[in-house]
């Protein structure tokens, strides 16, 4: 029992279960799943599907934070990837046959390459130029949306191309395609982190960069690679988002995504100071955020409350992670017990 409580993913999962149960109590239809027209429908599926872009970015962010980094440019990278995908489709569609899949794969390729380049830029600024991660990624965060608008000429690009809609709206074996993407990335990462020494290296760099360096961990290769991975996650999220709404909005796509991703990572139990990380926890964190949003919409509270709830949640998680706060709690607890 005790081992269950100290398991790193216990508390995030408990919070998610509590949220879902509370929803189920107040709104009996909330947890229901329906099989309709060969697809599974229901609030749970909807939450998971809508959380997919954030879940992808949170996984990338988890690894970057694990090596004492931070990537606040993910929102801008998402906008760049979405814009490039939309621009590629518009460009190629005219020349290719009706129903051809070439524009689809070209768009995916172009968006991911652009995202990877953004990540490489961030990684090199951090490792080669030795900038603080928040400053290095701030540059792309500021300029990125400008670049995306430059590509789209300041317009919202609309995508009139049916195959592309599959990414964000398509179903595979009854479940949304986006879920498969998230699970595939998660499993691949998990294998890479546990079956190779990569997970150990990442923790070593995050716990003590100097010791890791002395022990021969090649932080100068691993750290930029993680930034590239994080940016690619943002790129995939950009594909999902732009496919879902069949358009790319350089100015607003992925707005505040960096904050949500950091929130998901901290909700999932990873230390924001690096070292200890929990990939599955971040996925749960992303689900918690989306469940909160859906809950707030479904119980009819004005959606603006969402921001306030998130703020309170971040503060709570942060305080619970702070040793000083826990100590204060422990000092208060016996006092309350003795006075009772």
């Amino acid at each position: 029992m005790r081992r269950l409580f100290v398991h790193p993913t216990f508390w995030p999962l408990a919070a998610l279960a509590l949220l879902l149960m509370a929803n189920g109590l107040f709104n009996p239809g909330f947890l229901a799943l329906q099989w309709r027209g060969g697809h599974l429908y229901g609030n749970l599926i909807d939450i998971a599907n809508r959380a997919a872009p954030l879940a992808l970015v949170s996984m990338g962010m988890t690894l970057v934070i694990a090596v004492r980094g931070l990537d606040i440019s993910v929102g801008a990278v998402l906008a760049i990837a979405a814009t490039i995908a939309a621009a590629t489709i518009t460009h190629l569609q005219a020349g290719s046959a009706q129903g051809s899949l070439l524009p689809l794969f070209a768009a995916i390729g172009a968006a991911l390459v652009a995202a990877a380049l953004c990540g490489l830029w961030n990684g090199l600024l951090v490792v080669k130029a030795g900038m603080q991660p928040i400053v290095a990624t701030l540059i792309l965060m500021v300029a990125g949306r400008g670049l995306a608008q430059l590509i789209s000429d300041g317009q919202i690009l609309t995508i009139y191309y049916a195959p592309y809609a599959f990414l964000g709206n398509g179903f595979l074996l009854g479940l949304p395609f986006a879920l498969y993407l998230v699970v595939a990335v998660f499993i691949a990462l998990k294998l890479l982190l546990t079956r190779t020494a990569l997970g150990l290296f990442i923790r070593a760099i995050g716990d003590n960069p100097l010791a890791a360096h002395v022990a021969g961990v090649r932080a100068h290769t691993i750290t930029p690679a993680l930034y590239v991975f994080c940016a690619c996650c943002a790129g995939m999220a950009g594909l999902l988002v732009s496919s879902n709404v069949a358009s790319a909005d350089a100015n607003n796509a992925g707005q505040l995504l960096e904050l949500d991703a950091i929130l998901a990572v901290s909700l999932g139990g990873s230390a924001l100071t690096g070292g200890r990380f929990n990939l599955f926890g971040s996925l749960v964190g992303a689900l918690i955020i989306q469940t909160l949003t859906t809950t707030i919409y479904s119980i009819g509270v004005p959606p603006q409350v969402n921001l306030v709830v998130k703020a309170v949640l971040v503060m709570l998680v942060l305080l619970l992670q702070s040793p000083q706060f826990r100590q204060q709690l422990r000092m208060l607890a016996p006092a309350a017990r003795s006075s009772a």
Binding site: V135, L138, I139, L150, V308, A311, F325
Partner: protein
């Protein structure tokens, strides 16, 4: 006292080697070069009023950036400022327009709320050893969330006192003038410069940024200073909110989006090191002026789209950050 001149000469030589001073020199030169380039390309660019307009249009940003300078000097960051500006504009507009408060009373309350909000964040950061950027991030969510809770829609202000203040121009001779907001912002710069240079508070701020552990060992009031620095930033953000309300005559929860980024950019371009410890308030003034000048150049050009502003600011940030790294490595 005969060695005064020698001391001055010695400090001058040392200060030119100081990365922050060198960085400021580059910023001022950049401002001059940009102005001259603008003057050569466009007629009327060098007119005095064009420069005074830089202060009028960027008064809010200037005040926010001054507060941010102190925070960054301690090695921290305050991401909540844009949201606090938005919150202040909504609070002011709502109190004045819907609850018929006198604007001055509402402004006073807004300044108190902003200061208290900053102090609370500073206390949390210091007391529980939390990272400034996450705490102020939560503060950003909270301030913008509460602003939208007060009103989702933009609230226009037609209070006669507020309108009079907004229309007031202080003549400077030769047909040029400054707005009340610009004068307030300049006063803030002057006061902040004096505070940072010649008070124990200002020196403690720099000491904390240099090394918090050393500052503690020296017996400096680290905790109290950190709380006061964030309170100061909150106050500046609220004051900027007041200026915005006067400038725009409206309160809207989406005012000041991304303002924190512009403020950080201005501070960095002004030669303050993001790692804390070195930098100065007048540098921030020039940082804001450079950002404003870029905006003005793009407006004067007329063919360049607005997103070029963001790209140019990004490039400038990159340039200044790289330069700071090089200077730090050399010393």
């Amino acid at each position: 006292m005969s060695s005064d001149a020698a001391v001055v000469r010695h400090t001058l030589a040392r200060r030119l080697g100081d990365p922050a001073v060198l960085s400021l020199t580059v910023t001022v030169s950049l401002f001059v070069v940009l102005s001259l380039a603008g003057g050569m390309r466009f007629d009327g660019f060098l007119a005095p009023q064009v420069f005074l307009n830089l202060f009028i249009d960027n008064a809010g940003l200037l005040v926010v950036a001054v507060g941010m300078t102190f925070v960054i000097l301690t090695g921290g960051i305050d991401l909540s400022v844009g949201a606090v500006v938005a919150f202040t504009t909504v609070l002011l507009a709502s109190l004045v327009q819907h609850h018929r408060w006198h604007p001055l009373a509402a402004m006073l309350l807004a300044l108190l709320v902003g200061t208290g909000f900053g102090a609370a964040m500073g206390f949390t950061i210091h007391r529980y050893r939390l990272q400034p950027f996450v705490v102020t991030l939560a503060g950003m969510f909270l301030a913008r969330g509460v602003a939208t809770l007060i009103s989702v829609d933009s609230i226009g202000i037609d209070n006669s006192f507020q309108m009079a203040v907004a229309g007031l121009r202080i003549p400077l001779g030769g047909g040029t003038s400054l707005s009340v907001g610009a004068v307030t912002a300049l006063a803030v710069v002057v006061i902040a410069t004096l505070v940072s240079r010649s008070t124990p508070f200002g020196r403690t701020v720099c000491a904390i940024g240099g090394s918090e552990a050393s500052a503690l060992l020296m017996g400096l009031p680290v905790g109290a200073t950190l709380v006061r620095v964030y309170a100061l930033s909150g106050f500046c953000a609220a004051l900027a909110g007041v200026l915005y309300t006067v400038y725009m005559l409206s309160g809207y929860s989406l005012h000041g989006t991304g303002l924190e980024l512009d403020a950080i950019a201005a501070v960095v371009i002004g030669g303050t090191l993001l790692s804390g410890g070195t930098g100065q308030v007048p540098g921030t003034l020039f940082g804001v002026l450079v950002l404003g000048l870029i905006q003005t150049l793009i407006v004067f050009d007329g063919t360049l789209s607005s997103w070029w502003t963001r790209i140019v600011i990004g490039v400038l940030l990159l340039f200044f950050c790289l330069m700071q790294r090089l200077l730090l490595r050399r010393t």
